[in-house]
Each structure stands twice: as C-alpha cells, then as structure tokens.
C-alpha cells in the first residue's frame, strides 16, 4: 500500500472513532466475575470497553449484600450492565442502547448452559482451564453483538468439546479441538440436528420429571400448590428419525412450552408431540399442572418451634410423615430451616438420619433419607439463643426436599413412542420421577 494512503488513514480514524461511540449493538462486551469480585474473563464484540465499567457493578454488588439481590440491570452513565448470577459466577454484559433485557438475560443463560454442556460444569476453574474454547464459543455465539449460533448441536460441530482422551491426543499430536471437517448442520433444514448421526445402539430415553411447588401453612393445609413438569430426553438415534410421543391423558397439561423441534400444530390438533429430535440430551417440553387441579401433597410435616422469653433457649420438634404417596416410597427427604439470627446452636436428637446446624449461615439441615411409614422420623431438642438478645419474633420457614421414583404425581402417563423415517428398531424407555420443587412449610 502506498505511503500516501497511510496518511489519509489517520484522518479516517478520527471520524470513525466518534461514530463508534454509540453504536447500536445488542451485547457489546461480556465480563465474567467470580463471587469474590475477581474479573477473570472479558470478551468484546466490538471496540474494547474498559473494565472499569464493572466498578458500577461492584458497587451494586456491595450494596446488595446477597449475590441474588444484585439488580439484573444496572444503569451507568454511558452503559447498561445486564447481568446474571449463575454457579457463583456473574455474567456481566455491557450494552449501550435500548435492548429487550430478557433477550440479553436469556442469552447469558444460554452461554452458561453451553459452558455446562461443554465442560460438565460451569465454574471459574473449568472456564479458566478451557479459556480458548470459551473464547471461540463466545465468538461463534455472538456476531456483532447479535446471537449467531446458539444451538449446542451445531456449536459442537464447529468447536469440539474437550474430553480427557482428546486432550491427551491433542498434546501428543498437536491437533487441536477444532474440527477439520466443516459443519453442514447449520445449513440443513433442521437447525437443531446435525446431519449424519450414527449409533450402533439406537436408544431414546425420556424422563418425566415433576416438581411440586407448594406453600403449606402452619396447620398443614395447602396455601398454594402446583406441579411443574418437564420431559428430559436423551435421544441417540441414527439418521433423521421422526418421533411421535403421545400421552394417555394430555388434557392434564395446563400450560406447555416446547423445544423448537416440536411441531406446535400437531400438538394443537392431536395433542401428540411430533418432532425430529436434536442429537443427545435436551429438554423436550416443560409443562404446568395448575393449582386448580388438586395437587397431591406427598408428605406432611408436624412442626413446633418455640422460643422462651426467660432463659436463652428454644424448643424444636419436627415430625415428617407420608401423606399421599400413591403407594410409593418417599426418598431423599431433606428438611432445611433458616433459623433466626439469634440461634447460636442446636442440641437435637434425630430418630432417623442426621442433622447439621451451621452457625454461620444459620441453616439447620436434617437429612432423613427414606421415609418409613411405620416409624416416623422425628427431630427434637433444644436451641440455644444468644444470651441477652430478645427472643425472635418471627418463625422460620421450613423447606422440604424429597424424591419419589417411578411416579409422576400429576398422573401424567406416556402412552407410546413411535418412530418414522428410519428402518431400525430403537430401544425406548420412559422414567418417572417426582421431586419437591419450592416446597415450603410455614411455621
């Protein structure tokens, strides 16, 4: 290039810089910050925004006390910081102009999910260990601040996830993570499925997982209860299978949302799920069984907690028993109580399982395990309070966690799964699990 044009360039630069200042772009930059406040990764999709912009975030973080209470949108003089908190990492994105906040939030969650998908977990360590892949992923997921490729099936073709074996091979052969062959999936008619899938064992598993969200009041009656369900699929089928999943009682489902692969019209007209599945693990649908249908509450909790005015002590007595379990065993029962601040320690006696009181977080956790209807587990004893402090006015709430295998509490049943488009006979399996979601008992 002749020298003359270089001179011209300098003039250009000046005009250009001014116009970049307010470029309308959805996501300008992304900063990853751990929960101690270290900024450990930054990515810019346009000109670099100084990391000092995060000071506004740190300020808000400090003010919020709890990490959950950091406002998702922070307004700074020149930027808007939209952030999410996941797996003890803050994903702080920077934008300069109007953008639907949910758009950014959903995208950030998608990023976190992709990391989880790639590295097994989404933590500071794994991100640091795989920083190059992370960088490539971010580059691929966002172009000029606008999402480009977010389907994990496609991403995995563009950038191979690390495996222990591969990383070993890589170090030996010096061949990296990036596929030599170029992906075709992005251009296929089905954007969520890569082409040319081949398995020796063709299998499709569906887990119907239901969670009970409930608030029970002191006397055990239901204030609010609903069931949130989801069908998690693990499909490893060769070729382009076209699946149809039908239910015995689809009318139960009050509100549904689907993976993009599900044909909405089929559902509307016939109440069957018809889809060409992505390859691997994905959530096929999530649904909601509303509070209007009576929700069976699988356990009851008899609890009594009292604090005495005289003497720094209190009493606690909790019994858990099965209620409507449809003849199934309730497993993995864990009771968690967030105690008032003045409770120093707990001296309790559990007839079953173990309890643990963390005096720092003030959380009492009682891990019961399997519920035996013949011998109800009971936790009883005294609590010692900070001397001199007034007795707490408020009563703590009690959170219950539980699991029931082989039962969908709403009664939802999968009728059958058919496959079209391929000739082989796949192995099919359906599993039901009921869990406690946000299951809270007021005391």
């Amino acid at each position: 290039m002749p020298a003359k044009s270089f001179l011209l360039l300098k003039i250009f630069i000046k005009t250009a810089v001014s116009s970049w200042l307010f470029s309308p772009i959805m996501i300008h930059s992304l900063f990853l910050i751990n929960n101690v406040g270290d900024l450990f990764l930054e990515k810019h999709w346009k000109s670099v925004i100084s990391r000092t912009v995060c000071d506004y975030f740190f300020e808000a973080r400090e003010k919020a006390v709890e990490p959950e209470n950091v406002p998702p949108v922070i307004h700074t003089p020149h930027h808007y910081l939209i952030n999410i908190y996941r797996e003890k990492i803050f994903f702080v994105s920077v934008t300069q102009t109007e953008v639907p906040p949910l758009f950014v939030i959903e995208f950030l969650h998608q990023v976190a999910e992709t990391f989880q998908d790639y590295f097994g977990e989404c933590s500071e360590t794994t991100i640091n260990d795989n920083v190059v892949i992370v960088y490539e992923l971010l580059e691929e997921m966002l172009d000029n601040g606008f999402p480009l490729t977010t389907e994990s099936n496609i991403l995995k073709e563009l950038i191979r996830p690390p495996t222990t074996l591969r990383s070993m091979v890589n170090t030996i052969t010096g061949i990296g993570n990036i596929g030599q062959t170029l992906p075709t999936g992005q251009l296929s008619s089905i954007p969520w499925r890569r082409a040319g899938v081949k398995y020796t064992n063709n299998e499709a598993y569906f887990d119907v997982v239901e969670e009970i969200d409930a608030i029970l009041d002191k006397s055990g009656s239901t204030v609010f209860a609903e069931i949130q369900g989801g069908i998690d699929a693990c499909v490893k089928l060769s070729g382009m299978p076209d699946l149809t999943l039908s239910f015995m009682n689809p009318r139960l489902l009050d509100d549904v949302s689907f993976h993009p692969c599900v044909r909405y019209k089929r559902w509307e007209s016939e109440r069957v799920l018809s889809f060409i599945p992505p390859d691997g693990n994905f959530q096929l649908m999530s649904y909601h069984v509303s509070a209007q249908n009576l929700v069976a509450i699988p356990v009851y909790v008899k609890q009594n907690i009292s604090f005495f005015e005289t003497g720094p002590s209190g009493r606690l007595d909790i019994t858990v028993g099965p209620k409507q379990t449809m003849g199934k065993t309730v497993e993995c029962v864990v009771v968690t109580i967030h105690m008032p601040k003045v409770v120093l320690s707990a001296n309790l006696n559990a007839t079953q399982g173990t309890y643990n009181y963390d005096p720092v977080t003030k959380v009492l956790m009682w891990d019961i395990g399997k519920l035996n209807p013949q011998k109800l587990p009971n936790l009883k004893g005294s609590l010692s309070l900070q001397s001199g402090a007034p007795k707490p006015e408020e009563n703590p709430n009690l959170n219950v966690d539980l699991k029931i295998q082989q039962l969908a509490i709403s009664g939802l049943k999968v009728n059958q799964l058919d496959m079209y488009g391929e000739k082989y006979k796949p192995f099919k399996g359906v599993k039901y699990v009921t869990k406690a979601g946000k299951f809270q008992v007021r005391m």
């Binding site: 290039m1 810019h44 990296g176 005015e309 967030h338």
Partner: protein, 1119 residues
C-alpha cells in the same frame, strides 16, 4: 471505586500466572513480558503448525484476561494465510480484536479475506465476510461494501445471513454508506429463508428503523415465516412488527365496551370449522361497527400466538408485549398464563417479567387475577423478587380477594427479611387506601404492629398509619394518642417525624397531649435528626396558633434553639415561621393568614403504584424496566387516526405468466449450484417442518397446487413452501384485482376473502389454533367455575383454619406474653383481626349460582362493587339516569327529593334494587335528621334504609342510596320521610325494567334458556320501528334504557354493518337479565324484519313481568 477495580485488575493478573502452568511447554520460561512475547513470536514464525497453534492459544488466553497483546500483531498477521484452520480461526479472533489499533498492518490481511470471499465452501465465504466486516478500518469501507453486496446475493442462505450481520457493522463504521446499505437491506428483506429473516430485520432496526415502507411488501411473509425463525430473530421481528402495526392499523380498542368481550367469547367458542370460523370472525369484527380489524392485523396476532409456548423467555415476553399493545382487550388475556409460567425461570427472568406484569396489572387487573396465588411469596425468594411480587399482589387486590391477601400479608410481616417486612406494611397501607372496606381492619392491624419489637417495623407502620389517618382523622384520635405515647420509644427519625406531624396536624383532636409532646421534644431538640427538628418546629407553630396560651413559651424556646442550629434549612424554617406566627408590628399581612397557611386542609396522600403510567414505554424494553428512556429507544407510535392504505402490503405481480417465467429463470440460475454446494441446504427450514405436520388437508391443497403448476414444480424439485404460498397469494391477488375492477365498493369483503384464500395452506396451522382457542376458552370457563368453587371451599377451610388458630392462640400465648394476659390483648394478637373479614364475603354480591358468569360480567363491566353505600362511585352515574320526583319542593316545604334507579348492584343485599335518592335543601335554614319511618309495604317487600342524614345546611344537596326489595312486582313502596320537624308520605314505584339486573349469557346459553321458557312464558309482539330506530345502536340503546338488561353477543348479524350491501338475513338482538329478588331469567329478543318491521319476544317465567316489559319496550321502540 477505582480502588476496587485496581484490585480486581491485580487479582486478574495474578490469577493468570498459575494458569500457564497448565501448558507443558510453558513452565517458568516467561519471566518477563518481553521475553514471553519474544518466545511467542518465535513460535509463530516457526513452520510447525502445532507450535503456531500453541502460541495462538496463549495469545487468545491473554486477550481473554484483558491483557495487551498488541505488540504481537506483526507476528500474528503473517499467519492469516495459514493453511491450518485452527490457527486461522485464532488469528481471526486476534485480528478482530486488534485491527483497530494497528490499522496499517491489518491491511496486510485484507487480500486473504478477499480470496476467502470467493471460496467454493460457503462456510469459508461466510467467515471471511465476518472477519472482514469486523475489522474496523475505514479505508476498506469500499471493499466491505462490495463484499456485502456480493454476499447478499450469494446462493447460500448462511452467507446471506452473514451479509445481514455485516450491514450494521459497516453502517457504524461509515454512516455515509447508509443509502447503499438500505438497498442491500431491501434486497435481503425479500429473502424467503428463515435463516436470513431475523438477521436482516436486526440490520433494518439498526440502520433505518424509520423506513417502515420497506416492510410493507414483506409484512405478510414475515408474519408467516415467524414461527420457524430462530428464537433471537423472533424477538427482533416481533418487536419491529409491533411498531409497524402501531403505524399501520387502527386501535382495536377504539370502542371499548362490554360487547366486545362477549363477541370474542362467541368467536372462540363457536366452532372448529375454518370456513365458519371465518364467517363468525368477520361478523364479530363487523359488529364493532366503525372498527374493522385489518386482516393483516389479525394475521399478526394469529401467527405470534403460538410463540407464547416458546421455551425462550425473551420470545414469550416479546409476544406478550405485542398482544398488550396491539390486541383487542378481550384477547390480551391469553398472555397471562405464559407470563406466569416464566415465573418458574431464573430469578433474573422473574425480575424482568414481574416488572412487566406489575405494569400490566395496573391497566388490566382482571387478566392476572386467576393467577393470584402464583405470586405468593416464598421465604427463599431474593428480596428484590419478593418486593416485586408484593407489588403485583397489591395491584391485584380487590374486594373479593382482599381477605385472603391480607391473611397472606400477615405471614409476610413475620418474615426475617426486614426490607421485605417494610414493603409488606406499605402494601397493607395501599390496600387499605384502595379498598375502603378493610381500612379499619388494616389500621387496627398496623396499630398492633406498633408494639413490635423491631424498630424498623414500627417505624414503617407509623409512616403508613400516618398516611391512612390523614384520610379520616376524626375517628381515630385514640390512635393518635397511642402514637403520641410511642414517641418515647421509637428512634427511627422518619417515624418520629411522622408522629410529630400527625400530632401537629390534628392537635385539635388531642388538645391535652399535644403540648406535652412538644415539651418533651423541646427537651431533646438538639439531639434530633434534621427531619425530626423540622417537624418539631412545625408542631410548635401549629400549637402556637391553636393553643397559644399553653405553648407560647415552648414555641419561643424551640424557635430559639432552631435559630442557632447547624443546618441552614432549619435556621431558615425557624426564621420564616417566627415571622409568620408571632405577631409583631413589622409583620405583614401574612400574619393574619397564618392559621390558614398552617392548618389548611391537606389532601390525603395517594398511595399508588410506582408502576403507574409506565406503560407508555413499550413493555419488555430496557426503557420500561428503568422507567427512563434508554438511548436508541424508539417510542411506540400512537395509533393512527385513520388506517393507512392497506393495499401497500399486497405483493404486486403485474402479469402472471411473466412472473412465472421470471421465477423460473431465477431458479434455474440459482438452484443448480445451490445443490451442488451441499445437499443440506435444500429446504430452508419451513418446508421440512410445516409441510409434513400440517396434516392431510394442507397436503392435498399443496398437492393440487403442484399439479396446477406442474411444470414448474417439477423443475425446481423441492420448491419451498413459502414460494408456493407466494404463488398462491399472487394468484389470489390477480383474482382480486379483477374483482376490484368489477365492483369497487366491496373492497373490504373481497380482501378478507382474499386473505383467507391466500392462507389456504396455513389452514392446518390455523384450524389447530382455533381448536386450541376454543378448547382454551372452554377450559377457562371451566377453570373459572371450579376456581370459584374451590375458592369458596378454601375460604371456608381457611376460615375454619383461622378459627382453629385463634383457639390455639390464647392457649399458646400466655407463656409468651407473660405480662399482658388480657383477654382483649390475646384477641388482638392476630394482626388484622380476622373477625372483621368474615362479613366481607357475605356482603360481596354473591349472585345465585345459576349463572356462573354473572359475577364475571360484573367484573368485566368494572362495576365497583363498593363497600359503603356512600362511596362516590355509586353516585357517579346519576347524571345519565332519569330522575323522578319523590317530594316536590313546595310540598316538602323547601325540601326537594328526587330519586332514580342507579342500576348498581346493591351490595348489602343482592336481592334489592338500589335506589339513589337526592335531597336538596331549598330552605334557608338547616334540616336535621332525615330518615325513613314506618314503611307501609306489601307483604314480602323489604327496605334497607339509608343511614340517617344528620344535618343539611341551607342550599346543600345530599345523595344517598337505599335498597328496596320489590318482590318482582311494580307495586309502590310507601314510607315516610322524616326530618326533625315534619313527616312526608312518599312512595316509589319502579318501572318494570328496573326490577332486573343484567346477566351475561352467550348466544348458545341464551338459546338454551329460551328453549326452556316457551309456551305460556313467551310473549311475542310484532311492531314497526320508530323513525329514529334506524340502526342497531339506537335499538340497543332504547332497550337497555327501558330495562336493565345486558346484550347477548351474537354472531349472526354481521351483515348489518356493511350498509352498501343489503342484509340477506335479518339481524337479531338479544338481551338477558334476571329479576332482582327471585332471580328469574328475563330474555328479550328483537328480530328485525323487512323494512321497519320487527318482532319482539320476551321470555320470562313471571308472566306479569313479561307482559309489562313487552309493553314498555314496544313503546320505546315505536317512538
């Protein structure tokens, strides 16, 4: 701030060090930056790809940590032409990051990209364009422009998508290119693949959002493609279409009325069959006489609705805001369920959704009422979520759910989260101001909280009580006294200030205590906070004005203290007040008015939602969330007065044959290399997805289609659906053109037909949806029914619960409350005493369960089912009612009494007719104690008297409401009106039409009920309509004026709305109501005949009422 950033920087740096330990080759070599970089350069210069890769990886890691790697630029840029794809990719990453800083060197790489743009592999072409357009070097603008233009007509949709992405990049680099870029956008907008649609709309939004004219031609295509576009594109397209629709269509809520809601009901409930549905829909549209929804508007609403089921919260929100801003009121409700579903998502999503729901609940409360319980708060929610949920709950509070809500709030107050407790107390305060019924209960509950141990709770309660008391201070002097006592204990400044203000403001109610409080405060003045000091001064001033004898010296003292205060505000205030209240010879005219100045009646504060008026921002936007205009925010345009020309959206095709040939040519040119490139490209998403699942029906349609254009489809093989569709459209359009030529006036109907035709292929989708909506409305009504039931149940249940709790409470409390084992005390323990609520459900108008929807209708009407008889809203309507004379001015010796039937439900007794009575005192003296005595009533009749009017000064007029149960007869109710001096015999005789209340029935229900009331119960009369009864509006108006009935929405009378074409079948108007006291159905049908003729039919079990009603309506209609 800066310190913290420095800290984090440092940390970032140090955490970077050990990371290099992972690399086997790196350990400890790099002691300094220079060396490290030298080493990297060496690696980059080597001819082993593995070394290069290693070096690039480290460089990228440096960039990720925010370290400067710019000095490596010359070494890196050399590798841009590297054969190894992996190295190449990382070099691209580096280039994009640093090209801006090293422009001269960056130019070296350009030729590589230019070569890449011509690569046979579409992915290489795309990535070359991506990087080229990301290099922000102004000198290459022409190259970029050229590349974009070329890529925009690339055969690979993926490359075209990349071109769309590159447009905003170039635009921000050089805005002068705008015009050329718009041309490219226009070209890409016409693209029919879903892959491109989202990106190009994004580019449109960034480069030329005001060029709405570019959208016209692509509007229908975008609507139809929408469901298959990827999620992010959907959000952008929906937001853009929202704005578009606001400029192009009319406000569907122009004539808001109850009828509209009814219409929609009928429309959904009607049937599955598509054709019929069309008709019904058209008629439903037609009935809103001046407003006809543009079919394109309907298309948008219909095609976005399924997206409410998306797994992506942003998409759901986008559809929700579209419906909120664009849909007819009756249809907005569908979004509630989806939004409530999002409440299960991540807390950030919840946060944003709740903000939007809070805004929506202010405008459309009814929408979220069924989901009240989904907003109940869990102790594990983050505080910011709790507070938002509380906001929503408060917005949803009304007379029917307030008791459950308050019970819920009661548990919140016991929470450990103090910020949340404070917010809960404020919420109770807001409920108390909004719902008069529970004001006293709330106030009592809040007073209970004053003895709470937690100071914050007490302080917040004080502040809220202050606001509540301001609304009716007279009745609550004891509470003021109680609060005066609290001032010794409460330390929170805001609370102290509030108490002082209260005492000062109402010092006349507490004449003994007020001076004493001032005495105490004078003592502690110097130690108080500033806001408290200001209020002490205020208190002193007010007392001085009302009770100067006792407080003169104290006031002087306080003012003297304030004079030397450190705060200039306080000094100022003291000086100002001294001048104002202490009369001196210098003081001016203001002194006389001091009392008026200080003790003027102050309006009670309005406790309202912070989300009020936020809906002028587009929902779901950043600006809405922040309640401030974000840069780049585009206002949602106001609806146009009259619709712009809808024909601009027609895709004009001048000649059919010419068009096909053109298309052929294009396809021939394009398709070949298209397939040779990669077979995956073939069917841009839609064909694969929708064709197979739209069922046999659409297949047969498309099949015939194909045979019709046999040659063409054979040639192109896999024709995309959108193409076919367009052809259909074109065909229809041609037809249409012919039609419009033939008869111009019928444009509208023709168009609706046309659009229905054009969408033939979409039928599968549509029927499905209709079926869905039908089932939905079904299930909704079902659910509402069951909900009502279950609510009743739960109320009973929880009431009994409460009973139990109360029984338990005294048993448990003694040990706790060892000091005050007072009976009263224990009862008060339960905050917001539940006893007070028990009458509430009873007094709420529980209509007989015959017509479950009747309560719904009253909800819809927005009738405030007010609590107290005197509430202003019951009186408000009087202007429109016909007033009858009860007592003439002369006969009443100056007291004139008029009455009218207000048609409001009489809340203390649903079986009574509400009669609104207006007294006017025309005498020159006062009239006292107006009340009712000795009613002489027919057997069975009952009267609920109005509360006695104690005093009416001369010239004043007072309006009251009384209830009379006429036992469904038109017999007069006789009674005596008494004043303190005289008694007057008066009587009220109701017209038959006032003995009923409206009932909401659907057309089907109406017909069913009518079937039951045949024979003797049916009275029919032929009539000739009066001259003025020219259109349906007048008829409806006349009938509803005569009798208190509601109109039954029906679908069969659509034709009456298009005057040019004579109605083939005559319209029928139906009205339904029930008698007030016995609840018998009254059904009125007015069937129009040829000319002015009409047939009036009344079906009612009570024949007397029926005959009388027929007579009245006849009279009204024939006049």
């Amino acid at each position: 701030m800066s310190a913290s950033s420095a800290f984090s920087d440092e940390k970032g740096g140090s955490s970077g060090e050990p990371e290099y330990g992972h690399d086997p080759a790196s350990g400890g070599i790099f002691s300094t930056d220079y060396k490290r970089h030298d080493d990297l350069k060496e690696m980059l210069d080597s001819n082993k790809d593995s070394l290069k890769l290693e070096a690039m990886k480290r460089i990228v890691a440096m960039i990720a940590r925010g370290k400067n790697a710019s000095d490596l630029f010359p070494a890196v840029v050399k590798n841009v032409a590297c054969k190894n794809i992996e190295v190449k990719k990382l070099v691209y990453v580096y280039l994009v990051r640093y090209a801006e800083e090293q422009q001269e060197l960056a130019l070296l790489s350009i030729s590589t990209f230019q070569r890449g743009l011509k690569d046979p592999n579409q992915l290489i072409r795309a990535s070359a364009l991506r990087v080229l357009s990301s290099i922000r070097v102004t000198i290459i603008v022409p190259i970029m422009m050229l590349a974009i233009k070329e890529a925009a007509s690339d055969m690979s949709p993926y490359v075209r998508k990349t071109a769309a992405h590159a447009i905003p990049k170039l635009h921000s680099l050089d805005p002068d290119q705008k015009d050329q870029l718009i041309e490219v956008i226009e070209k890409l907008l016409a693209d029919k693949t879903t892959l491109v649609a989202g990106s190009v709309v994004m580019a449109f939004e960034e480069v030329c959002p005001d060029r709405i004219d570019l959208i016209h031609k692509n509007y229908r295509k975008l609507c139809n493609l929408l469901i298959d576009v990827e999620e992010w594109g959907q959000v952008v397209i929906i937001n853009m279409l929202t704005r578009y629709a606001r400029t192009q269509f009319l406000n569907p809520n122009i004539n808001e009325s109850l009828l509209e809601e009814g219409d929609e009901k009928a429309f959904y409930a009607s049937d599955e069959e598509e054709d019929e549905e069309k008709k019904v829909e058209a008629s439903a549209l037609a009935k809103r006489k001046p407003y006809v929804m543009d079919p394109d508007h309907r298309l948008l609403l219909r095609n976005t609705k399924p997206l409410l089921q998306s797994r992506n919260a942003a998409v759901v929100m986008a559809v929700a805001q579209l419906y909120f801003h664009l849909a007819p009121k009756a249809e907005v409700g569908v979004i509630a369920k989806a939004l409530v579903r999002l409440m299960r998502s991540h807390s950030e999503v919840q946060y944003v959704v709740l903000q939007n729901v809070a805004t929506m609940t202010i405008k459309r409360r009814g929408m979220f009422e069924p989901y009240l319980k989904s907003f109940y708060i869990r102790s594990t929610d983050p505080t910011q979520i709790k507070i938002l949920k509380l906001e929503v709950l408060t917005n949803l509070a009304n007379e029917t759910n307030i008791s459950t809500l308050l019970r819920e709030f009661q548990t919140y107050i016991k929470s450990m989260d103090k910020d949340f407790v404070a917010a809960s107390i404020q919420a109770i305060g807001r409920c108390a101001t909004n719902i008069g019924e529970v004001r006293d209960t709330c106030l009592n509950g809040l007073v209970q909280l004053l003895s709470n141990r937690d100071e914050l709770v007490v302080a917040e309660s004080v502040v809220v009580i202050k606001k509540l008391l301001q609304m009716q201070p007279e009745q609550h002097s004891d509470i003021i006294k109680h609060m005066a006592k609290l001032i010794d204990n409460i330390q929170v400044p805001m609370a102290r200030a509030s108490i002082l203000w209260l005492i000062g403001e109402y010092c006349e109610h507490v004449p003994k205590i007020a001076p004493d409080v001032l005495r105490k405060m004078a003592k502690s003045f110097t130690n108080e906070e500033d806001i408290v000091k200001l209020q002490i001064i205020n208190l002193a001033a007010k007392l001085y004005l009302t009770n100067s004898k006792q407080t003169k010296l104290l006031t002087q003292y306080v003012l003297n203290l304030a004079k030397y205060d450190q705060n200039y505000d306080i000094r100022d205030r003291a000086r100002f007040i001294r001048q104002l209240i202490v009369p001196t010879d210098k003081s001016g005219a203001l002194n006389k008015y001091a009392k008026k100045l200080f003790l003027a009646l102050k309006p009670a504060p309005v406790l309202e939602s912070p989300f009020k008026d936020r809906d002028h921002f587009q929902l779901g936007s950043l600006s809405h969330l922040l309640n401030a205009k974000a840069s780049g925010y585009q206002e949602l345009p106001a609806w146009p007065e009259s619709a712009p020309d809808p024909s601009v959206r027609n895709v004009e095709i001048p000649d059919w044959s010419k068009c096909t040939s053109r298309k052929d040519r294009k396809e021939k040119k394009v398709e070949k290399p298209f397939y040779s490139d990669s077979d995956g490209e073939s069917g841009p998403t839609e064909s694969a997805d929708s064709e197979s699942d739209s069922g046999s029906r659409s297949e047969s349609v498309s099949g015939s289609d194909e045979s019709a254009f046999g040659s063409e489809s054979e040639e192109s093989g896999e024709e995309t659906e959108s193409d076919e569709e367009e052809e259909e459209e074109e065909k229809m359009k041609k037809k249409r053109v012919e039609k419009t030529k033939a008869k111009k006036p019928v444009v509208e109907s023709a168009e609706s037909e046309q659009s229905s035709g054009a969408e033939d292929q979409k039928r599968g989708r549509k029927t499905g949806k209709d079926r869905k909506s039908a089932s939905e409305s079904e299930s909704e009504s079902e659910s509402s029914e069951s909900e009502e039931e279950s609510e009743d149940e739960s109320e009973e249940e929880s009431e009994s619960d409460a009973d139990i709790r109360k029984k338990k409470a005294p048993a448990k409390q003694p040990p706790k409350q060892s000091k005050k084992v007072n009976k009263k005390e224990t009862q008060e323990m339960s905050l917001l005493d539940l006893d007070d609520f028990e009458p509430t459900p009873a007094s709420a108008p529980v209509t007989p369960v015959n017509f479950l929807s009747s309560s719904l209708v009253s909800d819809l009407e927005g009738l405030s089912l007010t609590d107290t008889i005197l509430a202003p809203s019951t009186i408000a309507q009087s202007a429109s009612m016909k007033m009858c004379e009860l007592l003439h001015r002369i006969r009443g010796e100056g007291l004139a009494v008029e009455y009218c039937f207000s048609r409001q439900p009489f809340s203390p007794d649903p079986n009574m007719v509400a009669v609104q009575i207006q007294f006017t005192n025309n005498t020159s003296s006062e009239t006292k104690t107006i009340h009712i005595e000795e009613p002489k009533l027919q057997s069975g009749m009952r009267i609920r008297e109005f509360s006695e009017i104690e005093l009416m000064s001369a010239g004043e007029s007072v309006t009251v409401v009384m209830g009379i149960d006429f036992c469904d007869s038109t017999q007069a109710a006789n009674f005596q009106l008494c004043t303190h001096t005289r008694k007057f015999f008066v009587s009220i005789q109701p017209p038959v039409g006032e003995l009923m209340t409206p009932v909401f029935l659907t057309e089907n229900d109406f017909k069913k009920e009518q079937g039951k009331l045949m024979g003797m119960n049916e009275i029919s009369e032929k009539l000739t309509l009066g001259e003025k009864c020219v259109n349906e509006h007048v008829i409806v108006e006349r009938v509803t004026a005569t009798a208190n009935l509601s109109r039954v929405p029906c679908g069969s009378d659509k034709e009456c709305s298009s005057p040019p074409t004579p109605p083939p079948s005559s319209p029928v108007h139906r009205f339904a109501g029930k008698t007030v006291s016995s609840g018998c159905l009254v059904l009125v049908t007015v069937a129009m005949k040829e000319g002015r003729g009409a047939q009036l039919t009344v079906n009612c079990e009570k024949m007397v009422i029926g005959t009388m009603l027929v007579k009245d309506i006849l009279q009204a209609l024939t006049q």
